[in-house]
Symmetry: C2
Subunit: 251 residues, 2 copies
């Protein structure tokens, strides 16, 4: 346990944070390639499937669909002592689904401190979609439906900003009778502006297929653009290959 | 106060519940017409603007955009005693915006019991979007971003089922470079299925421009279709003019 009680040092943390939407062949290849270079010689990841209901099917489905990066996925739901499983892991992978359900399970199983301490000590962390949301200071920029109420919205805080996954700009459209019909709900930018009416933390909107790679205190973008939102400032678009943080380095 | 302590009698309650997306001229006309026939001789509504940040601008904007049904809107945020304002109101209108923020404010100002008791005693209730969400047993089928954490997800419970506002079926598309690109996030039906993995309450998906009119224990649909989702059963589409409840009457 002692080795996990690490102080907060952003530069010590290694994370690979995916937006989601990795189902197309190009995006699946990029994810696989990034996983291989990120995890290096590690061949087994502790997989956290709590964002979906059927945990066994989740692990099997990821491997069948080629979204496992060629690594062996060890489902934490099959371990008698999940906290110990985190402490012994060489790499951790938190998958997507419903973020409210995921964070609620992490609280229920008392896993937040174990994961946070592990990553602060260098445990490499892969999150996709909901798994990226819980790496943020809070889960307040999720797009998910509040099907359960976690005891807090505070999450792992492994990065100093929020990410909005599955980000897009502009309006959405739905297909009805062969034509595209405008949907009038709030846009994603509206929602992030509402977040900034009550919270000051910057938000990175990460387009689908995008991955944020965090190593040595560097935060760099792969696969898709992102948009940086800061309270009271105009949003800034950032292209793949460029850093998204710290804001002072953003043109 | 005594007259407000009404027992639960579904048939005593009068509600007009809109999905949202009333910005087009046809939809605005339908809403206006429904408001006039629903409120009858009442010419002033107590308006609850807490789902948006700027309350004065909200009241002014609704009137300017013709979404006030020709009625005078009396903003509750300008009243020294909001609970008393509810007790004295002849009609109440809860507007859209962010449902987490709205419900949080209703708890903060201790308004839930006053509104619930009023409606149980016949106070006519108009809700649009977030205002429809809070009329449900819980706010768990909102589409909004969790920018604040209300003390509970339990809401007014003025109807015996959940509504998902701004409902649509199928995938969404975003416009990028003049073409429509598929968005890979969970569909609305996926999200409602996730809700039913952990909650048993039926859900009515109400398309934009749709209004559910509740009077004398009848729940009938205007302006747009709806889809009824029941746990473990196939979804059923319901056309305008038809009842959406009780499920035993749905073909």
């Amino acid at each position: 346990m002692e080795r996990r009680r690490a102080a907060l040092d952003w530069a010590a943390m290694r994370l690979l944070l995916g937006s989601g939407g990795f189902g197309t062949p190009d995006r699946a290849s990029l994810l696989s390639e990034q996983m291989q270079s990120f995890f290096g010689p590690i061949d087994k990841l502790l997989f956290v499937p709590y964002a979906l209901k059927d945990h066994d099917a989740y692990v099997e489905g990821l491997t069948a669909r080629g979204l496992h990066g060629g690594l062996c996925l060890d489902g934490i739901h099959r371990r008698a002592d999940p906290v110990k499983a985190v402490e012994e892991a060489e790499g951790i992978y938190i998958g997507g689904g419903n973020t409210f359900r995921l964070l609620d399970a992490l609280y229920e199983l008392n896993l937040l401190d174990a994961i946070r301490d592990g990553v602060r000590s260098g445990l490499p962390y892969l999150g996709i979609s909901a798994g990226t949301n819980v790496a943020c200071p809070t889960m307040m920029t999720t797009n998910d439906m509040p099907i359960v109420r976690p005891p807090s919205f505070e999450a792992l805080g492994l990065i100093p900003f929020q990410i909005n996954v599955h980000y897009f700009s502009g309006r959405t459209y739905v297909e009805a009778g062969g034509t595209f019909q405008e949907h009038f709900g709030e846009t994603r930018d509206d929602r992030i502006a509402e977040f900034h009416e009550v919270n000051g933390t910057p938000v990175i909107g990460l387009w689908e297929g995008g991955i944020l790679r965090v190593e040595g205190g560097q935060y760099s973008l792969r696969g898709a653009p992102a948009r940086l939102f800061r309270r009271g400032q105009p949003a800034v678009d950032i292209q793949p290959g460029k850093p998204v943080w710290p804001p002072k380095d953003i043109p």
